[in-house]
Symmetry: C2
Subunit: 234 residues, 2 copies
Amino acid sequence: MKNFDDVPFCSECVSNISNIFKQLNQQQIEDLNYIKSCNFHKRGEIIYHEGNRPTGVYCVSKGIIKLYKTGIEGKEQIIRFAKKGDIIGYRSVLSTELACTTAKVIEDAVVCFIPSETWMEMLQNNSNFSMDVMRFACNELGKSNSFITDIAQKNVRERLAEILLYLKDDFGIDADGVLQISLTREELANITGTATESAIRLLSEFKDDKMIALNGRKIAILDENRLKKTANLY
Amino acid sequence: MKNFDDVPFCSECVSNISNIFKQLNQQQIEDLNYIKSCNFHKRGEIIYHEGNRPTGVYCVSKGIIKLYKTGIEGKEQIIRFAKKGDIIGYRSVLSTELACTTAKVIEDAVVCFIPSETWMEMLQNNSNFSMDVMRFACNELGKSNSFITDIAQKNVRERLAEILLYLKDDFGIDADGVLQISLTREELANITGTATESAIRLLSEFKDDKMIALNGRKIAILDENRLKKTANLY
DNA sequence: CGTGTGATTGACGCCTGTCAACGTCTGTGG
DNA sequence: CCACAGACGTTGACAGGCGTCAATCACACG
């Protein structure tokens, strides 16, 4: 982790329409901008570890973070990703529990830190902000519950297809249809909840079926409709 | 659903130490007690359906409710249970989404209904209450994320053992070690995320191994330590 | 006593995880 | 500039966990 002199203004992040901080008033934004600290992190760096007591909430200003739990024999299960405007670590701060995931940078990132006290004060003093955070947490809960059902009932092929579509929606594609997030095969497997080799084999099959194209870690979505069918989405 | 004349006082539920409503002041409790409606539901009745727009939050005063999602070909995945003092339906009200689960009574229940507006007002006007609801939601989120990891990485045997231990912790056992919640084999399978036949086979194995005793739907925990080992819990 | 729901057991085979070997690429240091 | 280490990707072989289908049993209820 290095110091990052070019600290981004919160108001920039706030411009994101779906951003939580848009409920803050001018004064609160300025205060937050003053009190937050901000750092640059290279790929591979860890923001916080599962099991640690959190001291605040992080807001991603740039880059991509993966949040994962470490399960049996060190195998990681990716729970979600965070990108520009997303907050991480809020769950354990709010529930006053230990961090339930590890946060690791997978694309060079700029991350702001908001101390717990500041965060809690903002919640106490601004009920609109508080409601938005609650809305966000409940939305996450809904997604987690859906994923439980998927992973319990769908097979690996269906899940992998679904993950690819999810990545497209969440991170977008470029003009050639290439996913704007670059993951290793192992990471792809660790979202899907399968072995790396299984993920690779299925990707190859999808390629043979002309639903996707592969070029190293670049994955292009060629036929979204058939992917949806493969994913068993209606 | 029948009308239920013997309406319970909220203050009774509030006496539960872990209850969310304990943050309400006397006036709020009285208001809530006045505005809420309360009904008796027999086993099998449905409180609300997945996909419906919720009109309020429910609080369980008596009995047990299962919350499940309906997946591929109608197979249900049980997400959680709610018992005395627990609230259900709050997620979709807070995230202003459609209900992501169906709530079905599995043990005759008395359930109170709090209209959305009342619920939202309480949140807006009482930040302690609001923080407690947030804490509750974030705690649930942590549990869901843990379960994702379990279901993705553990095998059925480990998961089933874990579920039995969870049921013991959550619903308790009587003097003979019998679980205080009665589930069909199919329901047990639908929590674990497996086929009914697999659940049955593994229960038989656990019985042969003298970790549990079976008598119809009564399941007695005989050897918690070995169950923990089987569940791969440390 | 018939009917229906739930519980149990057996047979069978596919999906998927594991192990192992090998290919590919990138960055580093001599 | 090349050799090499190490991480990542790919493919094949194999076994076994677990889902599916089907038959049978147990039990409650009208």
